[in-house]
């Protein structure tokens, strides 16, 4: 069953984020994927997350597909204009990649190539509409395609971020849904209550939301996020719990496991786990579920 079919059937779906390598050694990424294959429904492949140059999501998603796994390929507005985006989308579909996650992408100034010129020819919303056009057999110039792709497309939402208006987030989701997005990935969620104001405003409730669970790596990381990352909120209890824990790494894994369980029990159709390079901890997390 594909990711789309599993979600349609109401099965709980676990997505795992797998960063493509910075280089050409793909074996570690594929080893992680193989170890998780039976326990994870699909792999989320970021496109140069935080504007750090790595192997493209298209390449990594294709490699996963070749191994019989189901990737969700990020498509990012930052690095490609409308020609390149559409061309890569056609290539992706021809390579068997059918799940997409449309993102704006972080500004190059935040990454490791801060002198790069950003593109942003299309916004995420316009890209969703362009994907819809390709599916209807037309490109953005209105020219007919020789064969149209068919994608299962998601987008991101800032639902659950402190300081964001729940009304605007719900409106944004509705707008992106009209443009063809079928699921919405949230920022890392440490307190599921924060999603409720948006959930209450959505016609389909929590059914279109895919909350992200971020694996913390240390007490320092948790404190740093709490102080410096405005769109992620870590409750003080979580930080205190890490302070008290004798084995911090084990506690971080346990917090992630409990986070996934809590979101599953609230009825979210899927959860995405992000480990930011600690993919080797993923088997431990999924086995504990």
């Amino acid at each position: 069953m594909s990711l789309k079919e599993k979600l349609a059937a109401g099965e709980f779906v676990l997505l795992a984020e797998l960063e493509p390598p910075k280089g050409v050694h793909v074996a570690p990424m594929l080893d992680h994927a193989r170890r998780l294959k039976e326990r994870v429904e699909a792999f989320l492949v970021p496109e140069m997350h935080q504007a750090v140059m790595r192997m493209s999501a298209l390449g990594a998603a294709f490699l996963l597909r070749q191994e019989g796994m189901e990737p969700v390929m990020q498509v990012c507005c930052r690095d490609r204009n409308r020609l390149a985006l559409q061309g890569d989308l056609l290539a992706a579909f021809a390579c068997g990649i059918e799940n997409l996650l449309v993102v704006s992408g972080e500004d190059p100034s935040l990454g490791d190539h801060h002198r790069a010129r950003a593109v942003y020819d299309l916004s995420a919303l316009e890209l969703l509409e362009a994907i819809g056009g390709l599916e209807r057999g037309r490109d953005l110039a209105g020219v007919d395609l020789e064969g149209a792709p068919r994608f299962f497309t998601g987008a991101t939402t800032q639902a659950g971020s402190p300081g964001r208006s729940a009304e605007l987030e719900a409106e944004d989701i509705a707008q992106r849904m009209r443009a063809g997005a079928r699921f919405f990935l949230t920022p890392p969620i440490f307190d599921p209550e924060l999603l409720e104001p948006v959930v209450r405003r959505l016609d389909q409730g929590r059914q279109a939301l895919v909350p992200t669970v971020l694996l913390l790596k240390s007490l320092g990381m948790a404190r740093y996020i709490e102080r410096n990352v405005p769109h992620i909120r870590i409750p003080p209890e979580t930080i205190e719990r890490l302070q008290r824990a004798p084995d911090k790494v084990r506690e971080c894994v346990q917090i992630a496991v409990e986070g996934i369980r809590a979101l599953r029990s609230r009825g979210y159709p899927a959860v995405a786990v992000a480990t930011l390079g600690w993919e080797d901890k993923l088997p431990e997390i999924v086995e504990a579920l």
Partner: protein, 222 residues
């Protein structure tokens, strides 16, 4: 100068629906020189609006004013006593002046009467051409004072592309190849060795890659 073009009146008119009093606001700087938003253009747009409002049977007071600069709070403050008499402002300044006017008078709707195009110069009366993109890191010392960022379609920094032919750009015969101009200029200056020198990959963080820019001069700050 900042070069702008007048917007068609049909584009402006719907924004003024329901307004009983409109101020057409010009600027005495760049837009006056490029004949898009100076006192003369303010008068022309105001007259055209009066005619159209009369045709629609609407009684609308159309005021005219041209400030020395709209990008300077000192001159914008001159409007403080009169602006409340108007329901809306159509600014013929560049995008900077339009925004600065709106920032100065937050409760007043301010609409653009021009399209701001580029930083350029007059080639002849009625013809303006782009010369600078404000990339934040000037390369003109290396290129014989011809800018490849503003004048090469591909912003190439190290010589022409394969589309350059007989000194013209692949975009068409009316577009000069910037690198042909650079080579001609370096030859005339006897500095062709500069052509052989490689310009490093450009730092676009000085351009817009780092987000909206600001220049801060601590030595002149009040």
């Amino acid at each position: 100068m900042i070069v702008a073009e007048r917007k068609p009146i049909e584009e402006i008119l719907p924004w003024l629906e329901g307004a009983r009093s409109v101020l057409v606001l010009g600027c005495n700087e760049c837009v006056t020189v490029c004949e898009a938003g100076g006192k003369k253009e303010v008068g022309m747009l105001a007259s055209a609006l009066r005619l159209l409002f009369a045709k629609e049977g609407r009684e609308v007071n159309v005021g005219e004013r041209t400030l020395e600069r709209q990008c300077d709070p000192e001159y914008l403050d001159e409007l403080r006593d009169t602006i409340d008499a108007y329901d809306a402002v159509v600014s013929l300044a560049c995008g900077v002046g339009i925004q600065f006017t709106a920032e100065r008078y937050p409760s007043k709707p301010v609409y653009p009467g021009v399209n701001t195009c580029f930083m350029g110069a007059a080639l002849e009366r009625g013809v303006w051409a782009e010369r600078c993109q404000g990339c934040g890191q000037c390369l003109l010392a290396l290129t014989g004072a011809v800018c490849p960022v503003a004048r090469c379609a591909k912003r190439l920094l190290n010589g022409p592309c394969g589309g350059s032919s007989a000194g013209k750009c692949e975009l068409g015969p009316e577009v000069d190849c910037a690198w042909q101009l650079i080579i001609d200029r370096l030859k005339a200056l006897g500095r062709m060795e500069d052509y052989e020198r490689l310009i490093p990959v450009k730092d676009w963080s000085k351009d817009r890659a780092g987000g909206p820019r600001k220049v801060v001069r601590e030595d002149v700050r009040s």
